[in-house]
């Protein structure tokens, strides 16, 4: 158990990343009840946007200066693609049966992957990404916090807090809540629901870009396929936390991240479970946890029970 703090830190950092991506699923679902399966690719495009921004900067720029600009560059790319997807792929299908936009989202995800694969220079193999250098911070004897993990652990809660305040306090945020509750009535009250929906897509995409930069500076590489598995995990996190609830996305992400890292470290130490532990089984245990949570709380950890949804 000596390494427990270290494994908790790993799980938290991974979970914070899942949470940042999960915001995109949960925002869009909360407002238009669409599962935007292309969101993993929006995350990936955010990564390539950030890389482009970095390449455009004069070489030798300190990462402290570069990272904010990379987030901006990534967000421009991901928001542009997400809003275009909303306008041209999802809006025409808004009143269609629910399966139509779902399949469209899956198709869009393939299209976006192939576009980056084909059009971005050298994207056919992993591209290296500026990585945060330096020794990890020693907190205790058995807890070293890597710089990139510290970065995401500071960034994710800060972004969440900003989003929470925005939704609760600002005029647009309240319009967003109204649209989520009842789009028709919101429209009658003079809310431009189309604009609100675009905003939901844009906010989700901006969070995905932040996540992509956090991912890149940690792993030191990005590739055109990276959105698929992470998108799936983030979607799982959103469901686990209660899809439609923005705090749920973060909570779900953290729970999922912790479940993965703790199951890698400890399942194999339970007598008789040696064969079922380690990295090979982490995803199995994460999904076992998801099923158990959904059995007890079908609406997810922080979700609200809504009769006519999901």
């Amino acid at each position: 158990m000596h390494e427990l703090p270290q494994q908790l830190a790993n799980g938290l950092a991974l979970g914070a990343l899942y949470g940042l991506i999960a915001i995109g699923y949960t925002m869009v679902y909360g407002i238009v009840q669409l599962i935007n399966f292309a969101h993993g690719e929006i995350f990936m495009i955010g990564g390539f946007g950030a890389l482009t921004a970095y390449i455009a900067l004069p070489s030798g720029t300190s990462l402290l200066v570069a990272i904010p600009l990379m987030i901006v560059g990534g967000a421009i790319a991901s928001v542009a693609v997400a809003t275009a997807a909303e306008r041209f792929a999802y809006r025409p299908l808004r009143n269609a049966p629910r399966l139509a936009p779902l399949i469209t989202a899956i198709g869009l995800s393939i299209v976006l992957q192939q576009l980056v694969w084909g059009l971005y220079p050298d994207a056919k193999k992993p591209r290296s990404f500026p990585e945060i250098q330096g020794e990890s911070f020693k907190i205790f004897d058995n807890l070293y916090l890597q710089r990139a993990d510290a970065f995401v652990l500071v960034l994710a809660p800060a972004c969440m807090l900003a989003l929470g305040l925005f939704v609760a306090k600002s005029r647009s945020g309240r319009a967003m809540q109204a649209t989520a509750q009842d789009p028709d009535t919101a429209k009658l009250m003079g809310i431009n629901t189309d604009r609100i929906i675009v905003m939901a897509f844009a906010i989700g995409a901006a969070f995905a870009a932040v996540a992509a930069v956090a991912y890149g500076v940690d792993k030191g590489q990005i590739n055109f396929e990276m959105g698929f598995i992470l998108g799936l995990k983030a979607f799982t996190a959103a469901v686990l936390g209660g899809i439609g609830n923005i705090y749920g996305a973060m909570v779900g992400g953290v729970v999922l991240g912790l479940a993965e890292s703790l199951s890698i470290a400890y399942i194999e130490e339970i007598p008789g479970m040696q064969q079922l532990g380690g990295g090979a089984w982490a995803n199995v245990w994460a999904f076992v946890l998801l099923i158990v949570v959904l059995l007890v709380r079908p609406q997810g950890l922080l979700g609200e029970r809504v009769a006519d949804r999901a």
């Binding site: 000596h2 390494e3 270290q6 494994q7 790993n10 799980g11 950092a13 991974l14 792929a89 025409p92 299908l93 009143n95 269609a96 139509a100 399949i103 469209t104 198709g107 869009l108 393939i110 299209v111 192939q114 576009l115 694969w117 084909g118 056919k124 193999k125 992993p126 290296s128 500026p130 990585e131 250098q133 020794e135 990890s136 070293y144 890597q146 993990d149 991912y215 792993k219 030191g220 590489q221 590739n223 396929e225 990276m226 698929f228 598995i229 993965e260 890292s261 890698i264 470290a265 380690g278 990295g279 090979a280 982490a282 995803n283």
Partner: protein, 411 residues
């Protein structure tokens, strides 16, 4: 009306997606201006991951076979025969490999094929080639079961597919060689073994572990990672707390590079060793963390150091391919050249013409092929395995792989 426009949109999107996918797998090899109608065209199929994270290796395979075909045409190696290649992309996915195999054997001009890269993909293709009687030469498969049957571990060798050959030495040779180097030369005693659960990686890790234990070393722990995942920090911390003095990774460079980086980031200053799957520049360049001290074994002597390879390297550079020949370039060239030599002997035995049952004849001729290739003597034993058992250990020093020991493997 709404439903119609919806249908059109969905169709358009799907078509778009499919077209794009198809574009990816098409090879832009334009035969061009061969106006001589008298020459018989013989196609050598190539199957390798041309896109995706393993494309660095796959492109090297494709280009090297292309170079072999072009060299044969230029030298008029087989009079009356014009060689062409047809390269298909398997994206390292077994199902794609199977579809490609079906496509290749369906083309009556295909006389043989080079590929694939991955042992797992090879498993799905062998049956199709055998049924059609088309010779297949892999430049990179190392899993012993492919040529020696599933019970090779118990000492029962039975060749499952008579059409399957390879220019790469098996994992038995490679895994044992790695264990001997790590124990005897690098003086490591406590190794942590990680694999990626794939045919290649898991097989190699098991052979390595057995030999390392036989030599007297200790296995500090084992873990598995999932292909295409990228966060291995929990596994890395397990390695650190196990106090192992080295790590052996059975798998490919995308996961291997990340694993090595993440282990080093925990503060554990221990080397990671792997097989030819991690012996690629992308293992080092994939991230900013230094990989200094990491090891990889690969088959054969360093291509750059073989006198026989000088011409290959010069020709490859002269041909101006966009991607480097990578780890398997020499083996791919030799695999392609072996098919060309087999065709040559078949044609020579048939009065300078390609016989009607050329495919079957080429399979027979393959067993007798013997020539001095890029990687040394190229010939095949009774299982279709290469008789060449030379291996090299490479070490990362300052952003590049440097060869530290080359030897012929002895059991």
């Amino acid at each position: 009306m709404r439903h119609r426009s919806l249908l059109i949109l969905t169709t358009a999107l799907t078509t778009g997606a499919l077209t794009l996918t198809a574009c990816g797998s098409r090879d832009d090899n334009k035969g061009g201006g061969d106006d001589s109608g008298k020459k018989t065209t013989v196609v050598i199929g190539v199957d390798a991951p041309l896109t995706g994270s393993l494309s660095a290796l796959g492109q090297g395979i494709k280009n090297s076979v292309d170079l072999a075909a072009k060299t044969a045409n230029k030298n008029n190696e087989v009079p009356g025969i014009e060689f062409k290649i047809e390269a298909l992309d398997d994206q390292a996915v077994p199902a794609s490999g199977k579809a490609n195999a079906a496509k290749l054997v369906g083309n009556k001009d295909v006389i043989g094929a080079v590929g694939p890269l991955n042992s797992g993909v090879a498993q799905s293709m062998q049956g199709d080639f055998e049924k059609a009687g088309v010779v297949q030469v892999s430049p990179a498969n190392t899993n012993p079961a492919l040529s020696q049957g599933d019970n090779w571990g118990k000492g029962e060798f039975k060749r499952p597919f008579k059409t399957y050959f390879r220019t790469a030495a098996t994992d038995v040779v490679q895994g044992k060689f790695a264990a001997q180097y790590l124990y005897n030369d690098a003086k490591k005693r406590k190794v942590y073994v990680v694999d990626d659960k794939q045919t290649y990686g898991a097989g190699l890790a098991a052979i390595f572990s057995a030999e390392f234990k036989r030599l007297g070393g200790k296995i500090a722990g084992t873990d598995h990672v999932t292909v295409k995942e990228t966060d291995f920090s929990s596994t890395a911390d397990k390695v650190k707390s196990s106090k192992a003095d080295s790590v052996y990774f059975g798998g490919q460079y995308p996961e291997g590079g990340l694993l090595s980086d993440q282990i080093k980031k925990t503060g554990a200053k221990i080397p990671t060793m792997g097989g030819d799957g991690i012996y690629d520049p992308a293992f080092i360049s994939a991230s900013g963390v230094a990989n200094d001290g990491d090891f990889a074994t690969s088959i054969g002597y360093p291509v750059e150091k073989l006198p026989t390879a000088k011409k290959f390297i010069a020709d490859y550079e002269a041909a101006g391919y966009k991607d480097p020949y990578a780890a398997y370039g020499g083996y791919s060239y030799d695999a392609g050249w072996a098919i060309i030599q087999a065709v040559k002997s078949v044609v020579a035995a048939n009065d300078g013409k390609l016989p009607a049952d050329a495919r079957a004849k080429v399979v027979e001729a393959m067993a007798k092929v013997s020539f001095d290739g890029v990687t040394g003597k190229v010939a095949f034993d009774e299982y279709g395995d290469t008789t060449n058992k030379q291996l090299t250990v490479y070490k990362v020093e300052g952003k590049v792989w440097k060869d530290v020991k080359s030897a012929t493997f002895e059991d």
